[in-house]
Amino acid sequence: MTLLHSCKKAAELLSQSLDEPLDMVDKLRLRMHLSMCGNCRNVEEQFNMIHKMGAQIGTLDLCDEQPEPSLMKGQALN
């Protein structure tokens, strides 16, 4: 077991932490990783925002008159 998580593992734990409490060791290792990694701090911020917005879907009065934003071509995720 390496002391530090990779960014890949950190992202998994960041996601998991939004759904359930992490165990102490993972929590600590994640915190250490975040303290040294700006990329992962940004991912954390993005996940938090997505989490917050997810609960708010439908509660912001979107301007329904406007067409939905068209996604750029070739932007398929799957």
């Binding site: 940004n42 009065d61 979107l62």
Partner: protein, 206 residues
């Protein structure tokens, strides 16, 4: 909240506004958009939306003006969908029909190098302060949600929108905890990548 974009006020008693108002058509479409993301069968989505609209029409006085009709209708729809997921006889159906042989890709593919570090710097997102920016960001997120494999999107919505605990999602959809975790992670990664690609970060979405 500003309800200007949804100018529906108290419907007159005994007067059914869906026959008379464009706003109701928009409201219905809006609810359908959410419902279709959550349930597989179009007819079922229609039923849930219909039930929600009836609830709105039957008790217009329950809407106290602290939220727009839209917000209130969405809250009712959420309850209807949650009830549907929780009804025992729907359990099997929810799973088998969600399992529609879709191409479930891994959005993290190619994202990391061999050490598991990001190949490309992760941008920082600005907290949207203006309501207009929040709206833009929300419509990008909704568009991105639709781009997720449908089962992935549904699990994300159950968790984040309906607010189900992951243990309940696993149980309702007969997924293992590990599987559930992975699906949610993929959903979030997929969303953040899609949203980054749409350049919402500075509010300059197009």
């Amino acid at each position: 909240m500003n309800s200007q974009t949804m100018p529906i006020d108290q419907p007159a008693p005994g007067h059914y506004p869906e026959t008379s108002g464009e706003p109701w058509v928009r409201l219905r479409q809006r609810l359908l958009r959410h419902a279709r993301m959550m349930v597989y069968e179009p007819a079922l989505a229609e039923d849930l939306v219909q039930d929600s609209l009836i609830a709105v029409l039957e008790k217009p006085e329950a809407h106290r003006g602290e939220a727009s009709i839209m917000t209130w209708a969405v809250a009712i729809l959420k309850h209807k969908i949650a009830d549907w997921y929780r009804s025992p006889h729907q359990r099997q159906r929810a799973w088998t029909e969600a399992d529609d042989d879709e191409d479930v890709g891994d959005p993290t593919e190619g994202l990391y190098d061999e050490q598991g570090s990001y190949k490309v710097a992760v941008p920082s997102w600005q907290q949207p302060e203006k309501q207009e920016t929040q709206r833009q960001m929300m419509s990008v997120m909704e568009a991105c949600l639709k781009r997720l494999p449908s089962q992935t999107g549904r699990v994300f919505m159950m968790r984040e929108w309906l607010g189900f605990e992951t243990t309940e999602i696993c149980e309702r959809l007969s997924l293992s905890a590990e599987n559930c975790r992975m699906i949610l992670h993929r959903a979030r990664m997929g969303l953040r990548q899609c949203m980054c690609a749409q350049g919402h970060t500075t509010g300059s979405i197009q």
